[in-house]
Symmetry: C2
Subunit: 338 residues, 2 copies
Amino acid sequence: MSEIRFNFVTGDWVIIAPERAKRPEEFVFSHKKDVLAGHVPTCPLCPGNEDSTPPETLRIGKGDGWTVRVVPNKFSVVNHETNIVRESVGVKKFMTGAGFHEVIIDNPAHNASIATLPAPSVEDILTAYKKRFLAFYKVSYIEHVIIFKNHGTRAGTSLQHPHSQIVGTPVIPGRLKSRIEEALRYYDDFGECLYCLILREELRDETRIISQNDSFVSFIPYSALSPFHIWIFPRRHTACFGSIDDRELHDLADILRDTLLRLHMGLGDPDFNYVIHSLSPQECAVKYFHWYLSIVTRVTRTAGFEIGTGMYINPSVPDSSAKFLRDVDTGSHGPSGE
Amino acid sequence: MSEIRFNFVTGDWVIIAPERAKRPEEFVFSHKKDVLAGHVPTCPLCPGNEDSTPPETLRIGKGDGWTVRVVPNKFSVVNHETNIVRESVGVKKFMTGAGFHEVIIDNPAHNASIATLPAPSVEDILTAYKKRFLAFYKVSYIEHVIIFKNHGTRAGTSLQHPHSQIVGTPVIPGRLKSRIEEALRYYDDFGECLYCLILREELRDETRIISQNDSFVSFIPYSALSPFHIWIFPRRHTACFGSIDDRELHDLADILRDTLLRLHMGLGDPDFNYVIHSLSPQECAVKYFHWYLSIVTRVTRTAGFEIGTGMYINPSVPDSSAKFLRDVDTGSHGPSGE
């Protein structure tokens, strides 16, 4: 008999269907990726082609030896605009598509992957995230900033060179509003941050933890919406990613790298998306929200049931998936000794 | 400059990005489907193999000459259960996965498609939807019933034989709750059904209409969340699909077939999902909700931005997509003259 679990964070029910459940090994990714060269002369994001991108907004590392570059997206979905029109006539409500959309070039190497980069390189990427996140929010009309990565074609990427994206919009996404409502309702009912409580319960249960360090915990939640749906929660309660300090940046690099390496080795480099869910710096101190990073591994497809209901069918058991990732022997690729 | 539009039905913002917009022809589906035989002896859903499915719950057409069969799903995500446990301890809330999950075998022919079936055959499929929908709601613990179809691998189907699915769950999906909230808020603000108003405005604008008949209108909404995202609205206000009468069933078969044929011919048989959004028969008379059928054409992929925000990026212009489908010459495949 399957079990229907409620995901308090998203407000969705998920059907954990053991009759359909596969063993973790059955999710090994069958769609092999191309083997890439370290440098591709025609790639606009590779070193030497810096002139083929719009002028960069951030560079980490000096001169030609940059480690991370951030550039405006050539195919931006929103663009900086000071004359913003906002209208609502009947059931037509629209506004100017103002905002910022930048590409974070994760690394100079065309074939790099966070899973296998040295920890300091991952820290550089996260530092770029933080700097651009805070810069975007300095623009008065920006209401929300989202940072995400698409890895692999199933995850929607179209460029091979490893990169992340950051988008600032002049509107508050509907999904964020509903998450805030859920979190606020919970806080008012129980007098405690929902996310802090989830973290405490996951740590007490232990069975769904993938790894942890001083500042972060990586786990597959009790009510994971899909196989290998992973959350990385900061231990310190704060609503805003922008408040992350140097020690935490270091620890996040460490745990993100370790988690993605386990996915990479355990499931054969599967496609995935990750996103950072956060409120704005102005909301940093709110008690009911807690920023976190969510990894959605794209080993199953959403179909009509998910589209129609927003409910999910998860054909895996969170506890056994977490154990599978815990047991991956990361060997020489393990935490760098720096 | 892109435009951000608000979808009042789903409560989501969508970025209509003309800089990224493709011409309708560019969405022609590149992933060609296998050419199928009309009968496959090893297919459990083909005639002659009736014994290889669980006992049917509905048959339309007599004896061996059935036109539609409905059978329990062998890999059901929920199962009938009278002893239902429902518990909530801290942030673990769960219940027994009770419910019903059936497969509607659309047609005896292994290579049939609603787009090219004669209208009476489509009417038989919709009749089966209605009968099982009403039967599911007769079970006291069923709170919601969803009917959907997955067409093609990108849309999540795993069986080639044409089929639809119906799932009854003992919980109310989060997405439905939020749609009811949006609709109720709108109704209370404006004293009118949101869906009725959308329909009136779409009919007045005309530019996004694909086709219409006495009972239904097929259109690409002003705030379509993705390319070729199509809504079919009944003209008569009612919250429940189960209240559809014979004349409307006939007209729905006609417009669904016509719309899918236009997609099929115009875009080269693209993958799609469709779902019927409806409240229960007990809620039939509520003034603020209006059942409808939504077609999600799977010509783009959702990525980190959509996962993180619930906002969508639509790289197409609804008006030109609708014109493209209107202009498809359905010729001899057009509305049957019965």
